[in-house]
Subunit: 137 residues, 6 copies
């Protein structure tokens, strides 16, 4: 079993805001992350796929295919977008990095399995100091 | 003459959009950077100050002072903010990285000169691939 | 279960030296790391916390709280300090990176559990080539 | 149990090419990675060793020894080399990053065990976007 | 006058070898960089363009155009290629990083001037320790 | 004229302290950088050399020679050392990053000129946020 990883980046804006709460409560929990017009990040998405190495190719999975899946399922939908407003598959989801990781898993896992490999981990780097990992359960 | 540099970061959203233009023209020039709800970046601001070294301190300028100036004049106004909507000193300015560099110069230069040093360069890293430098003229 | 990570940095000096050994034995084992007046590093501390995502906040744990714990329990005690001389919770401990990871775990784990989450991993980056990870057992 | 990691780099060329296939099939699977005269990378090799901390040294394993093993078993053979042509221990192996990780494991694991520690993971960073990990099974 | 910078990467192989010299002389001057089958790097190319900021766009030059020029004039020719064998515009040129910088200048400068801006600097990062800059004269 | 750059690293400790001042004055100016037992950094030293490209080698200067000069003149003296106590050529010099840059220039410039090239810039990266550059005048 070998694990391969592919990194892609996207630049997006978001706002952490719970519509069920008062402004004061949002401010208390989310602070500046709840500012009305949002803010943004250069997010890095790192996908780990596990599988056996094909003796004909030396590959767990062709990175060309993995890149194409990452672009079609995630990056093309979120890059240069507002994560609260623009992304149908994030509708109704607070776009915290934790929730992004789980939402991206749902889109990436079936597409990777369709290629005969298995998604192992979603890692999102939000800033140089804040990261999230999700292993699907 | 020695040059000292201090890096600070801020996470902000922006949209490149010329209100004098049609949507089609904005799309043609700015592409996805013109999407309606904006996008965002982890910006890095690197300020270069030049001066002589004080023999008592070994410093061109105390980095504690330089950091305080960068925070008070720029970072506190733009971090976790929307650069089109939230920043009084950017009102009426298209928030391209070039224009940010020039606007930041105007705020930082007098404050640094008031400490007896001279601003030499504003560098802004917008993404891992795009950067701007401005030397004041 | 989602894993969140927060990075903080500290600049400290240390010396690897076993007082039970002769100078020659210290030199043989620790080499230049045993030089009498010490040396130093820009350490990076990366803390991983695991937990369930709160549906109200989208957070495993508020990173503002995690940062505050890291500062109060570790960074404020070690930043710009000599790890052999200045840190009460390291008294009698050889400040190797391995031992730092275990000592930091003891301070961080109870404080993180008091917030309803669980410490998963301590990672310390000592130089761009040397790193340590500790999972608590 | 603590995990220590050491990073070393090597600059090498390689070509992904299956001699049992037609040129068209190689092109279809490997694309530009199959170009006749090869291409190259600055590879980063990160080795993770696990073990108990020696109370006399504070070390899982002396990094001087780990570095010496990495140099003697891997880096000295692959740095500034062509991985298809120059490396006896890679003869007959398609030099994909996956296969490099498994081949390096075979050389590093016995040498690390001879020092009383255990190899835990081989990580290879091929580019800033592509990485592989192998845990020995 | 503002300076904008765009980074692109390419992975290539090369060999430093002077055909007018004996093997011993090549070995003495170029060492392992002269190994027969070559080696390789992940090169980073950073292009600096200077110009005035267009008040309509906030741009010195549209980075979409700069990226397209870098791809068409340089990256598409050198990425995943052998710099000694595969690149017509490098024929007869020893592919040292210095010579690459000067050769890339000749291709990029006219294309950038055709867009109304001026090439200011070519920077090539060959490894994490070795870099070259060229300013056109 | 082409500029080549070589990066080397060293891990050292230092303390900013003016012996002519009271403790309170040292604390007021240098803050935590003046703590009695010092602190430390992973310093990066980047040396820029300018010159013409030798048509026989494609080099401004052989990087093997530049590395050897950097090691012999600077790195071997400061790596894993205390900059206040251990380095004869820093005796009587407050080891601020500014002063290190000027002291390193004095040692590196004659050695580089002896090889027929010219030192252009000393850059020291002290932390990920603080840097200094010195051009010799």
């Amino acid at each position: 079993m070998v694990y391969i990883q592919r990194r892609e980046t996207f630049s997006a804006s978001h706002r952490l805001h719970n519509a069920d709460w008062s402004d004061a409560q949002n401010e208390a929990v989310f602070g500046k992350c709840s500012n009305r017009f949002g803010h943004g990040h250069n997010f890095q998405l790192i996908v780990t796929v596990k599988g056996h190495v094909d003796p004909q190719t030396g590959f767990v999975m062709n990175l060309v295919d993995l890149k194409a899946i990452m672009m079609a399922e995630v990056i093309d939908h979120v890059d240069h977008r507002n994560l609260n407003e623009d992304v149908p598959f994030l509708a109704g989801i607070m776009p915290s990095t934790e929730n992004l990781a789980m939402a991206f898993w749902k889109r990436l896992s079936p597409a990777i399995e369709a290629k005969g490999a298995a998604l192992h981990c979603i890692r999102i780097i939000e800033t140089e100091n804040n990261f999230v990992e999700y292993y699907g359960e």
